[in-house]
Structure formats: structure tokens, C-alpha cells
Symmetry: C2
Subunit: 338 residues, 2 copies
DNA sequence: GTGAAAGCGCTAACAT
DNA sequence: ATGTTAGCGCTTTCAC
């Protein structure tokens, strides 16, 4: 970018009649510089429009102020918002993210990590699901001493910094809402069970049901893959299995909306016949027909906190906690007013 | 990242008993190297796990293989998909994107551009709306010789590479669908008129109406800001203004969905009383109640093409065209089956 | 075919 | 308070 006739620190030094170091000191505010020299140098910098080269700095400082951002699915509201929060936080601390989108192909990840290593990123933020069957490359990264932070993930045995939402509590909140609405046959559409978040929401649901005196029945649990389509299909299957269903907890809003579509097609009214609660509070949730009750996750906060913990680790400040769980919140709308 | 005990080209050279240059030649495939030396060097590289430092390379080559990505709103499906496409294409060519999210605050952009300049990015992709009142910094960037590509944008007078969708055609498609469904009072909810895309969709709508023999009536046009909320409010206003409305074109799916919510609340059936067509084909469109007819934009392709043109410019290949328009496609669903 | 010298733009360590 | 020396890790002349 403007490399051709780029102004260097030497140009500034010459024009100001000082050495490069003095200019460097002025720029970095380190070491003593007399008021007058500083003024003069600053004036020349201004005049020449000098901007220090981050590349040269990175080389000599062994620090790039750049972080890797591994993402998988930009259509997932949760991770998208995490990214927004993380980017904002990183920027406040003078860091940039290098974007790496594995886009549903986890096999790309090791190669990305290699490229990030060549670029000497200071740390890596994983804003993607935890489905990685082969996480050796991540473990190896951590052992190399590269700071890593994950969201919605756990790595058994490794000391990985994790920021996540309390999904078990979220499951409880959802099921509780349906119970308070007087529902007695509460089905569930789960996310894929190899997702930790799905397993934890499931646990919360089960606990709430049992505390509410309802039997836990795996016959009214169906599996989805987070998509609208899968929620639609799962709902159709559930209705066939158990026509008396009067409540539904879907592990995300997309599946809940797909399920409501299926309910509409089968002539079931929401919430009169079947009350529905989702998870995420995506923007469209408030504008569904009927508006969707759901469990809101503080996604931006997850991103901000993840970035801060990562930067802390990069800068050598040991985080007080290795694992942080943020609290979700129940949002009551028409689809289940319990 | 592993800076501490990083293996350098010198380490490889020493261990292989050659000079650094020879190693460099092997890595870059430039210059003649004897078969045996090459083998030996390669073996040592493998053994030591050597990876060249991109930082050092960038410094000496005056090229970072890094691009800036200016984004504004991650909740906007259009731009999100553009980013996904652009990232995939960049990666194929060995480039990374540095993420810059101005997040609805365009005032941050000049500062971002300054930081990107310090990091000597090879070019900048603007994946954000065109609402910038002060585009001097962009113009100055272009004059500095930094390759720039925009999506959904025009910069009057500047020779900026632009990739976009044919929005006028999109407006025609939407209005045409409503006309074929036999609608005679077709209202519109537009995006903000300072968006070029909104103005062009508007033109397409107007042209289609006039060709269809319908009067063009600004009394049945309302303004939104792309959000669900604004579509909802605009629809309520339109119904008050013109209860006989029997068709609606909303400039994006979010506003269309907001409008359908308003219609439901006012006891209007979709499509029987009012047929609705949106724009974008966001994933939820197929799962609305009723499923939403809409105009699909090839967003990923926009991103891929934008990245390719940017990289072409960075590498000195002059693009054949400065402006590319991709074609949108009508998707017919229940909300308007014309 | 290979090596030596020079330098990218900057900062750190030691001078003065 | 300021300058000098020595690199960071790599590629690019230009020798041989």
C-alpha cells in the first residue's frame, strides 16, 4: 500500500536532523526526548505524512498484533455475533483478526493453522462449533505455546481457554417456560449430539422436566442439524409419533421456525395446540407468526470476553479463569407465554 | 507464534551445508538448483519443520499478500455471504483478509484505512453499503494507487471497480410477479433512498408497473431501513393510507417479513388479500408463514468476483471491466404465486 | 549452480 | 538526551 514511495523513518530523521532512534523514541513514547526535538520530529512526521511500517515492527519485535480467527459458518447468528464482539474488542487493544473461514469443511483447519503460523499471529480465536473429530492440530498448537481461545468448545485434557454460554441453564429456562404454560407432553428437537451445547441444553431440559414432575421420555425427542429444514422434518416426525404433543423445545430458533411451519401445515395452532420455545433470539424471532419465545444468548459478550482473554494470554497476563460461562435469558413471546 | 525458538532459513542452510540463498531458491522455485542439493535442503526443511516467515518476506518483497476487508453489518445476509465468497476466492490465490468491521459507524472507516495502510495491505475490499457521506478517504486511497473493489457502491467520478447485482432487473422481477398474480394496487416498502440498490429496485418497480399499465402512485410507497421493525411499521402505515392494497414489494426479506407480521395483525391474509414479494432470499424466507416469494441475489458469486478482480488489480492485471452486474433470480413461493 | 554482500524499515542495547 | 551498532529473517543483486 503505497510501498513505492513510502516515507521511512530515515526520511523523517534526515529531514528533522536527528537519528532514526530519536524518531523511534518519539513514535513509541519510550526514552527521554527533549521537548524541542520531539516537537520538530512530530512536525516532520506530520509534514511528510509518515506512518511506521507495521511489517518492519513485527519483524524486529517478534509480535504482529495480529490474531487468527477460525470460523465455520457465517450463516450462524451465534458465531457471527461472536465475531463482531471479538473484532470490536481486539480493535480496542490494537489487534487485527486474520479471517479464516473453514465453511463447514473442518479438514481445512490444519492448513489454515499452518498459514497462520507462517504469518506469526500472536494467538488464535476459534469461533466455530466443537465437532472437530481430529483436534490434534489444536492440541499441538497449544503445546507450542500459542495462546488459543475457543467458544462453544471443550478439548478434553488440554488447558484451553473457553468462553461459552450456560447451555444447561438455557435448557432449563426453555423447559420451565413450557411447564409454566401448563404443557404436559413437551417434545424436543435437539442439535447434533456431538455438539456440547446440544448435550447441555438436553440436560437442562431433562432436569426441568423431572423437577416439574413430568416423565422423561426419549420417544418425544427428535434430532436436527440446526437448519430450518431439519426442524421442519423433525416436527413432522414428532407429530406422527405423538399426536398429543402440546409443547416443543427446539435447540435453536431456526429449527423452531421450521417446526412451526410443519405445525401450521398439520393444522396445529401455536401456542393454543402446541407451545414452542426456541434458542438464540435471532432477529426474526420477534417477527415470526406467531412471535417466538426463546432463550437469548449474550453472543456479543461471548466474543468480547473471548478476545479479551486471548489478548491477555498473548500479553502474558494469566487469566483468572480458564472457563467462563455467561448466562442466557428467557424471552417470552406469543409462541409460549409461560 | 512459536517465535521463541523459531527455525530460520539460516538454520536450514547450516544443517544442509549450503547458503541461505540456496535454501531460498529451493523454497521459491526460482533459479537453478542441482537435484541433489534440492533434495537435501528439502529433507532438512522437513526434518526441522521449517516454515518461512511471511513477515520477513513481506518486508523485503514489499508485498504482504494481505487484503483489507471493510464490513459494516454482519447481520446483513447479503454482505455476510459476500464475505464468505470473497474469503474463499482470496484463499485460493494465497491471500488473507484483515477484518475491519465498522459496524454501522462509518466514521471509523478513515481510521481503519490508516491502520491498514500501516500494515501495508495490498488492496482493500469494501463489503458494505454505499451510504458514506464522506468518501474522500476512499478517493484518496484510490489515487494513492491502492487497488480497491466495492460491492453495492458507486463513487462518482472515480474509477473504482464495482461488483453488484442488477437491482433494477430485480425490481422488475418482483413487480412482474405481483402483476402476473393479478394485483392492481401494488405498494412498495423501499430501503433508504440514499442506497443505490434501493433507488435501482425502485426504478425497476416503476418501469414494470408502467409497462403493465398500472399507474405509478407514490402514495403507496413507504420507507424502511431494511429492518423487520421498519417493515412492520411501514406496512401498518400503508394499510392506513390505502386499505385496498392487494400487493406488496418489499426491498428486502426482513422488511417483507415485518410487513407480513403487520398484515397478520390487521387480519389480512397472505397471499389471498395481499400478495408479498421480498428481496434477498434469506434462509428463513422458505420457512415463513406463508413461505415468501422473493428475488434471490447471487451473493457468494459477488464476493468471489470482487475478490478476484481485486487480486487481479493487485497483481497488475487490468480488469476488462470496471463494473460488473450479476443477475438476480425470481423465487416463487406461496406469498405470491405469480 | 552456488555464495557473498547488501538491504527491506524498524527497534534494542549499548554507547556518549 | 541523543547517536552508534547490530540485528529481526528473508530476498535480491551480482559475483564466481
Amino acid at each position: 500500500m503505497g510501498f513505492a514511495k513510502r516515507v521511512t523513518i530515515q526520511d523523517v530523521a534526515s529531514k528533522a536532523g536527528v537519528s532514526r532512534q530519536t524518531v523511534s523514541r518519539v513514535i513509541n513514547g519510550k526514552g527521554e526526548v527533549s521537548g524541542r526535538t520531539r516537537e520538530r520530529v512530530l512536525a516532520v512526521i506530520q509534514e511528510l505524512g509518515y506512518r511506521p511500517s507495521e511489517i518492519a515492527r513485527s519483524l524486529v519485535r517478534h509480535k504482529t498484533n495480529t490474531l487468527g480467527l477460525i470460523t465455520a459458518d457465517f450463516s450462524d447468528y451465534f458465531f457471527t455475533q461472536v465475531i463482531v464482539g471479538a473484532e470490536a474488542e481486539a480493535r480496542r487493544h490494537g489487534y487485527f483478526f486474520l479471517l479464516c473461514s473453514t465453511e463447514r469443511n473442518p479438514a481445512d483447519e490444519p492448513e489454515y493453522l499452518r498459514l497462520l503460523s507462517e504469518r506469526q499471529v500472536d494467538g488464535v480465536l476459534f469461533a466455530r462449533p466443537s465437532t472437530e473429530p481430529d483436534s490434534r492440530h489444536l492440541a499441538s498448537l497449544i503445546r507450542q505455546g500459542v495462546p488459543c481461545v475457543c467458544t462453544a468448545y471443550r478439548l478434553p485434557g488440554e488447558s484451553l481457554i473457553v468462553v461459552d454460554v450456560d447451555n444447561e441453564l438455557g435448557g432449563r429456562l426453555a423447559a420451565g417456560c413450557l411447564l409454566r404454560a401448563g404443557r404436559r407432553r413437551i417434545g424436543m428437537i435437539t442439535g447434533p449430539p456431538h455438539w456440547l451445547s446440544a448435550r447441555n441444553r438436553w440436560r437442562g431440559y431433562r432436569a426441568a422436566l423431572e423437577e416439574g414432575g413430568l416423565p422423561y421420555d426419549e420417544g418425544i425427542i427428535a434430532f436436527g442439524d440446526w437448519s430450518y429444514e431439519s426442524g421442519y422434518a423433525a416436527m413432522k416426525a414428532l407429530l406422527e409419533e405423538e399426536p398429543a404433543l402440546d409443547g416443543l423445545f427446539a435447540h435453536n430458533d431456526c429449527m423452531a421456525i421450521g417446526a412451526m411451519r410443519a405445525l401450521a401445515e398439520c393444522g396445529r395452532r401455536v401456542p393454543d395446540d402446541v407451545a414452542v420455545v426456541g434458542f438464540d433470539d435471532i432477529p426474526v424471532a420477534a417477527y415470526c407468526n406467531p412471535p417466538l419465545s426463546t432463550v437469548r444468548q449474550p453472543m456479543r459478550q461471548v466474543g468480547e470476553l473471548a478476545a479479551r482473554l486471548l489478548i491477555d494470554a498473548v500479553e502474558g497476563r494469566n487469566p483468572e479463569r480458564k472457563e467462563v460461562l455467561l448466562e442466557p435469558e428467557l424471552i417470552v413471546r406469543q409462541s409460549c407465554s409461560g
